[in-house]
Amino acid sequence: MVPRTFSRCSAPRGILWSVRIRRLPYRPRVLYETTLAHHMVSLAAAVTVAVVLTVLLLHFANPRNAFDINRISISDIVAATANTFFRMLVAYIGSLAIAVPLGLLIASTPQVQRVLLPIADILQSVPVLAFFPVVVVFFTTYRAFEAAAIFVIFITMVWNIVFPIVQGLHTIPDDIKSASIVFNVHGLRKLRFITLPAVVPFIVVGSLMAWAQGWTVVIVAEVLHTYIPGGRMSQDLLGLGSLLVDSNAQGQGSVFAAALTAMILLVTLINFLVWQPLLRLSQRYRFD
């Protein structure tokens, strides 16, 4: 009878799947003990995350963007918070998906870096608001208002992640690179087991900066009427940014205060629940 036990992966493969059922041929040893409380807390957390994401997804699939700044209710503030968060999240996921391969490409060889790094540097230094009107005109042609806002946030975020990744790739010690050759770690395996873990701290710091920049830009990204020739306030996207700008313009102090409070709460929550734990975790990935 081959004993079965829950064990924490002892191999690098375990980075991706921390707990799984494994057959232990002999000398079974429980490497990671869990109690019922652990499982209950994990289950509750997983269900909560799934419910929240589903609600957000359903909401965002058909966002409620029509609003009258003179008649804003609590539910409007909640909807605006959800909209803004999802715009930021979609832009961030897009930024990460582009920034990681782009960073790897830029740092791949000195020759490629000599060409791509200056281009990236120039693109990064162009203020996003300089080409926002062009972006808005392009997207509004196809009535893709959400896409216009998300694209602007994405453009703001992406460079904040690309450059730290490039920097991180250069901090991998030579001995680690030599070890990867000696231990026959090449291609995708090198990417998975060495390169990506090595840049985790840089991705986390870059992401933190990206979100900080994103919060700044989301305020203007949702106020589309400013950038549409002959635009009206009714063309704005419902979000914390548009509520802040429009309520300020219309002298709606209570709406302004509510939107500002919601934004501060959201930023604080994300900081406590996401960035602080990730920053702590990323310390483990730092080379001495």
């Binding site: 191999a11 375990g14 494994r22 010690p173 001995d175 030599s178 070890a179 087991f193 873990p197």
Partner: protein
């Protein structure tokens, strides 16, 4: 039987900046021997070791080297996000061995370097000596007939270094591996090696056999004579 390591008139140079690091290097390391490359910093000994490991390729000449080697690095080269046992398991895992074999080798080599109690620790939580033991266990877990060591003890204090010298000699005698070690400490070379290759300015000046019986004592007159002989080679 160990794989042979043979250099025949090997040169290694870089284009940018143009440097000739190793020139006209010929050497044959005998299977199962403990060979030490000694010499001042920058004389090309680490480059020779990297060529044996396959990290660097010779610019010209012939090099016969084993297909796979285990290597111990000066800076340990451990992956900080993996635990001690995950670091040791890394080498056999990259050889696509079954999980059962990986586990068995990990346990065996952790025991060999006396680190079973530290299996779940991260490298950051260990002392320099313990980290280097992990590096040695990882290199052994490759189970190649050749073990390369690039100044493995230069960052450690003398007491730990003496302990590790004894451990390495025990491991060498138990496993019958060919060990090629690089060191700039002549006393260390005489303590450990069967033969010492003395390098200067990228060339192999001389190969000196060490005929002292083990364990070797640094206070012995014969020991000091060997060290003086190496120094004389480099001054001449």
């Amino acid at each position: 039987m160990s794989d042979p390591i043979v250099f025949e008139r090997v040169n290694k140079s870089y284009e940018k900046p143009a440097v000739n690091v190793v020139h006209d290097f010929s050497l044959s390391v005998h299977p199962g021997e403990f060979f030490c490359l000694a010499g001042p910093s920058g004389c090309g000994k680490s480059t020779v070791l990297k060529m044996i490991a396959g990290i660097e390729k010779p610019s010209s000449g012939t090099l016969l080297r084993p297909k796979s080697v285990g290597m111990v690095f000066q800076s340990y080269a451990l992956l900080p996000w993996l635990t001690v046992e995950e670091n040791v398991a890394f080498a056999p895992q990259m050889q696509n061995l079954p999980e059962r074999d990986v586990k068995e080798k990990t346990s065996r080599y952790l025991a060999m370097v006396h680190l079973e109690a530290f299996a779940k620790k991260y490298p950051r939580e260990l002392s320099g000596g313990q980290r280097q033991r992990v590096g040695i266990a990882r290199a052994l877990a490759v189970e190649s007939s050749v073990l390369l060591m690039d100044e493995p003890f230069s960052a450690l204090d003398p007491v730990i270094t003496d302990e590790l010298h004894e451990d390495v000699l025990d491991i060498w005698q138990a496993t019958k591996k060919t060990i090629v070690m690089v060191s700039h400490r002549f006393e260390e070379a005489v303590t450990l090696a069967d033969r010492i290759g003395i390098m200067r300015d990228g060339s192999l000046e001389r190969v000196l056999p060490v005929s002292l019986p083990r364990p070797r004592n640094e206070d012995d007159i014969a020991f000091m004579r060997e060290v003086k002989e190496i120094r004389r080679c480099l001054v001449a």
